[in-house]
Symmetry: C2
Amino acid sequence: MMNKKLIFCAVFALLTGASGMAQEKLFNGSSVQSPVKNADGTVTFNLYAPQARQVSVSGDFLPTVKMKTPKGEIDVPGSAQLTKSAQGMWSYTTTVLSPELYSYAFNVDGLNINDPANIYMNRDISTYSNIFIITKTKGDKGYLYSVNEVPHGNLAKVWYESPTLKMQRRMTIYTPAGYDKGKAYPVLYLLHGAGGDENAWSELGRASQIMDNLIATGKAKPMIVVMPNGNPDSQAAPGEWSKGMYKPTFMASISPKTPKATIEESFMDIVNYVDSHYKTVKSREGRAVCGLSMGGGHTFGIARLYPLTFDYYGLFSAGLHLSKPINLKDPSLYDEMKADKTFQQQMKTLFNSNPKLYWIAIGNTDFLYKANADLRRFLDDNHYKYEYVETDGGHIWRNWRIYLTAFAQKLFKASPTSSR
Amino acid sequence: MMNKKLIFCAVFALLTGASGMAQEKLFNGSSVQSPVKNADGTVTFNLYAPQARQVSVSGDFLPTVKMKTPKGEIDVPGSAQLTKSAQGMWSYTTTVLSPELYSYAFNVDGLNINDPANIYMNRDISTYSNIFIITKTKGDKGYLYSVNEVPHGNLAKVWYESPTLKMQRRMTIYTPAGYDKGKAYPVLYLLHGAGGDENAWSELGRASQIMDNLIATGKAKPMIVVMPNGNPDSQAAPGEWSKGMYKPTFMASISPKTPKATIEESFMDIVNYVDSHYKTVKSREGRAVCGLSMGGGHTFGIARLYPLTFDYYGLFSAGLHLSKPINLKDPSLYDEMKADKTFQQQMKTLFNSNPKLYWIAIGNTDFLYKANADLRRFLDDNHYKYEYVETDGGHIWRNWRIYLTAFAQKLFKASPTSSR
């Protein structure tokens, strides 16, 4: 086998090296390696760019810096200068990094670029960042986000009909290892945020890796994870439907038509499809729903619309609002809740049904912190039972991976005889 | 809905704009668009890089240029200079382009980069190229490679056990629209080339789009398409197995261990898995196998190892060899075939069984042209029935998409009563 491969190599190296499309450069005859994980726990970035005048790296492993905005100061990832060798190689070495999935990009003479030596990238809206993972011990965050030598679930892109939205729509479905041999699995519905799509949780969120690793180590029950598209004006992620290869943005509506319903109103289309096409536990005990940001807002709404359909709710940095749009300052969401009789009745019905878990998580610098504090105040006033987790940091994927890891371990573990 | 989205937008624009990770730049207050398809059929590329001294684009829409190599002259994609506006925007406009999927990259002061305004990219080994599609009429190549408003098949990443290779392995499986309602589907096994993996055909090859569009227009039968990983030393694509986020190359073996078998020897593990987990036609009439380059070589071997298992064979720019490694010059494969009694007996058994199709396709400048001509000479000598398609061009994905499109339309259409 290797002989054949080697001969192919020699010829292909000629072809690809000559194509003018190859991004990587040879440095002293060998290909550039970046990022390099050093034995001392630091990481070195390398970029071969002899003609560049200034190269920096920005990434979430650098201390954040304060940036002033009209809404106040916010924390943004810091950046650091690379230094140039006599041969034209630019390099920067970090401090010792703790276990985590990190993101970064280079800036060369004012132009933001990806690291040509690192094929691993995540897209968030219209921006790619390179990623790398630091792991030190089995079970740490880096381990949970990595593909390990454990049984793997399958991941499918599935088209379904939404009678409510009157369109074909695409979703991502994770089935756990051994699914073909099992009888009936509980289902977690996992919702993305604004600007995201049905690929967000499996790519940026590392959902497959987290679930594989939690299930393999017995920390989470084997479950199906359904990741639908939360934009009622789109059938699928950019480039995956007939709208063509458009450039995604937050601002632009994708479709000229007003959607026929909201995601919350059409949500049972998804549940019905999953229950009729997969081996599921078709009752409340076997269903959880959670989401980040806009998807946390969807969860907040779904819980009230279908209070007996799900037993577990997770609000991750949730974008909460009632009839009015999200408002970051005043009037407070708390006042709105106190004035909204429909909302109060919905919440009463929901909490009187004793859901097994209503879980709220948010970072202490999140711009949605106040609205979530308002919700907690309302829940406290009414003695509605919920769990609350507050982490460092803001409205970032790093937190959402942590929240999924924590939430998934709480699901479907109640004994069948536990009191309601 | 839009109100909520707009509020999110305003806040997120602040956060992402401030993150230092955003790659795209605002130009006169609006985001850069690139590539832009102009009304006259040309395409304009734009890059905002006020500090750059020289910017070029290389792509397969530019006239190829000859490059001398130790093996002779080869055609490589040409490049063109972009010109800079007073505001720092670099631009280039192509000639009128015919329907096709095109690839390109920029070079800025010696550094190859992707187009930050275009999120659509394909990875080939360790290099990303941006892509765009030109389509003019329904049914042209651009149409076939696009996602259109037709019923869509599902695409799954599936882990299976290979008893022969003694490992868990990953493959991509396309199930056609309506699969859940059908009874039994024929299966096309679609194999990638050296340096590729189980993602190659669905990404670089646009296999889902081609199959969706051919099936929707009645040009191909609904079929399952199985795209396994053809590297016996890897479980999965880079980053998708426990080897970590390594940098893929042609040269390096991924695993320190010698594989327990070749892909050809282990191939029935895949067929058996698919037949036991999917609604398949479990006989020769319902099975086709084809592949590009190394995968064409695999097909060449699989046809001889399992002559009654498949009825349709497709060799796309096949890397052909017998016991000796691939040799691009002398001694000729023809001489080897004439001297190899085992090979002759295998081919006799295969062709005496009257397979419905043995299909060979290659580009007239392909570096594997001679070996494929040798195979045809051997087949002609023995009056073995095959079909042959010769196209322009070389060893490139553009040809392989064309071959899949042609081959898929020939499959599973023989009436059950046709003579063997």
